[in-house]
């Protein structure tokens, strides 16, 4: 099953990436990929790293508040609400963001109605910022769920000890809690990284700006030119990028004594 549905298509696409239309071996697909889409490849990496960093920071903040927060009501509300986007597919999230983030969209209209902005000051976010916002909104609950779970499972005595010695909550979070949940956080972030690399709907629906993400270029190559070679070369580049993420992850595991 794995062979038929994963390994065979993977090998096939790798081979296609290195062959031209006549079937001869070539690197032409890659030179075309870099010539036309070099900028988009860089842009994809930047967008996804930025999203991953924001997700990590926000997940720590949410998890930290759930663990260390002192107002039971606020903790209860946050616990109840933060998981919602988890159940919404990317394509739905993208469609919502299209109307929410536009220049005259729901967000700006609300701000104008509340008197916070004037119509002249509004800015549309339907570009790379929209992609980052959608990714963070969608993937944050997933990572926060893992991180909050790990934090809740921590031995509370370390936290109490630090607190008795007079450490503030922020200091406890950064110096005591986060290092202990780091492996879980990394797993969550790497899985998010890989998921975001593969999303087509969000960049295609939210942002029309050039540069765009690799997935859009792959779809375009196939739909408009029927050019599977270059599309597969781009796919190969995106495997390579996720491969780097996986390598970092495995290396960490080995450094910690083979425990992934």
């Amino acid at each position: 099953m794995v062979l038929a549905l994963f390994v065979y298509p993977l090998c096939y696409s790798l081979v296609t990436a290195f062959t031209d239309k006549a079937g001869a071996w070539t690197l032409g697909n890659f030179s075309r990929a870099f010539e036309f889409y070099g900028k988009d490849i860089g842009f994809t990496v930047v967008i996804i790293l930025l999203s991953t960093a924001l997700i990590g920071t926000a997940a720590i903040a949410i998890g930290g508040y759930l663990t260390l927060g002192e107002s039971p009501l606020a903790v209860g509300v946050l616990r109840w609400i933060y998981r919602w986007p988890l159940f919404i597919p990317f394509v739905v999230a993208a469609q919502c963001m299209r109307t929410f983030l536009a220049k005259n969209g729901i967000m700006n209209n609300s701000l104008v109605t509340l008197g916070i902005l004037t119509p002249e000051q509004t800015v549309g976010f339907l570009d790379w910022r929209g992609i980052v916002i959608t990714f963070v909104w969608k993937q944050l609950p997933f990572v926060a769920l893992l991180v909050a779970g790990a934090m809740a499972a921590l031995d509370r005595t370390t936290i109490e000890a630090a607190r008795n010695l007079g450490a503030g909550r922020l200091r406890i979070l950064i110096e005591i809690v986060v290092p202990q949940v780091m492996p879980t956080l990394m797993v969550g972030l790497i899985l998010s990284f890989v998921t975001m690399m593969s999303v087509l709907s969000v960049p295609i629906m939210v942002s029309g700006e050039s540069p765009t993400m690799i997935t859009v270029d792959m779809a375009f190559r196939i739909n408009n030119y029927g050019d599977y070679g270059t599309a597969n070369a781009l796919g190969f580049i995106s495997y390579a990028l996720t491969g780097v993420a996986a390598w970092i992850y495995l290396k960490r595991g080995i450094a910690e004594g083979g425990r992934p």
């Binding site: 010539e35 036309f36 900028k39 299209r98 109307t99 536009a102 220049k103 005259n104 969209g105 549309g124 339907l126 295609i204 629906m205 939210v206 942002s207 029309g208 700006e209 050039s210 540069p211 765009t212 859009v216 270029d217 375009f220 408009n224 030119y225």
Partner: protein
């Protein structure tokens, strides 16, 4: 196992019943195959078929879709080529795109049927005679003509541009008020880019009629350079729908759209009824789809009668114009008497039949078309 056997027996029985010539010899199945969206398949099934079956009680119309785009036409062509050697093909009427129609005519796979059909002479447009460089006169009648145009918000644009040159000047004077979706977000943006090339290159006709000669592409460089400059003053929207969305919210004042999509959205209340269209010169691309009859269709005569119904002024008015907001496949003046004034005005006031005749251009032949898109990626986007 027993269950599987039952299933197989059932399938065999079903095939026996469906096989032509079995049982009632009078019964005929007319196979109509459509490359296009599901709504076109439904149109044949729900609108045309019942009328045709009423007039021909022994006929059942079977409507099959092969999916949108050239890929859909490709499947129909492959089906025909596969049964080339047999004497009666199981496709009676096909609805296909321009590129494939040209190829099939060249290969001698289609019947020259339009002379035998009363409505054949009602369609005299350029696209009824020539499909992306291939002469198809006599073999095709357009089902509809879809067209791109510039949609604008009259509240924000007092004098709409008449040409691409006007538009260039307007966008410079009104930065970030024109929006198009580039080439990766749908065909309305692609059509805009093609229109730009037509407007800014010396031999645009050659791109449409061929033959392919890569040497003339050097003349495109200034057109791409000016488009790159133009793009600095415009907004790139997320897709065909994105342009319409932004027009609706007043974020942009103008943008290229498909005319049928524009009116459909307006009909659904997703665009204000005050919005208008302008087909700017020297022209913007559009494309027809054709009714064709395969050379060895099993039911040649019925196929001709079916197309005669489908291209009759009445059906063109009610089906194509009113239901889909497409321009009719036959010449507009024949359809006019069948339409109420409101529908006619809606479709032909902003873009007149003359505009359509002079400024409605076909897309370029395939190799030029690919090169224009690649050129845009290389010279404008990078």
């Amino acid at each position: 196992m027993t269950r599987l056997k039952f299933l197989l027996a059932g399938v065999a029985l079903a095939m026996l019943t469906l096989a032509p010539g079995q049982g009632n010899a009078q019964k005929v199945t007319l196979n109509v195959i459509t490359a296009g969206d599901q709504n076109m398949v439904d149109y044949v099934k729900d609108v045309l078929a019942p009328i045709f079956e009423k007039d021909h009680p022994n006929v059942t119309v079977k409507s099959v879709g092969t999916g949108p785009g050239d890929a859909g036409s490709q499947k129909i062509a492959e089906k025909l080529q596969a049964q080339k050697a047999t004497s009666a093909w199981d496709v009676d009427v096909a609805v296909i795109h321009q590129k494939m129609a040209g190829d099939l005519v060249k290969e001698g796979m289609l019947a020259a049927y339009t002379k035998d059909v009363n409505t054949g002479k009602l369609s005299t447009s350029q696209t009824a005679k020539n499909a992306l460089g291939q002469n198809v006169e006599g073999y095709v009648i357009p089902m509809f003509q879809s067209q791109t145009a510039i949609a604008y918000n009259p509240a924000m644009v007092q004098t709409p541009p008449k040409t691409f040159q006007d538009l260039e000047a307007w966008a410079k004077a009104n930065p970030k008020k024109f929006g198009h979706n580039g080439i990766k977000g749908g065909m309305s943006g692609v059509a805009f880019v093609v229109g730009w090339i037509y407007a800014n290159t010396p031999n645009a006709d050659k791109l449409i009629s061929g033959p392919y000669d890569q040497a003339i592409e050097t003349a495109w460089a200034p057109a791409f350079a000016s488009l790159k400059e133009f793009n600095k003053n415009v907004i790139i929207t997320p897709g065909n729908a994105g342009t319409l969305d932004m027009l609706n919210r007043g974020e942009i004042a103008m943008g290229p759209v498909w005319v049928d999509m524009f009116y459909t959205w307006m009909g659904e209340g997703k665009l204000p009824p005050t919005m208008k269209l302008a087909l700017i010169g020297p022209g913007m691309p559009g494309q027809p789809m054709y009714y064709v009859v395969p050379a060895k269709a099993a039911n040649l005569d019925l196929a001709k009668k079916f197309i005669e119904l489908a291209t009759s002024p009445k059906m063109q008015a009610e089906g194509i114009v009113k239901r889909f907001n497409w321009y009719p496949g036959i010449d507009a003046q024949h359809v006019k008497s069948q339409l109420d004034e409101k529908t006619w005005n809606k479709l032909f006031v902003d873009v007149t039949p003359q505009d359509l005749a002079t400024k409605g251009k076909p897309f370029p032949i395939k190799p030029y078309f690919d090169d224009i898109q690649q050129g845009y990626e290389k010279n404008v986007m990078n």
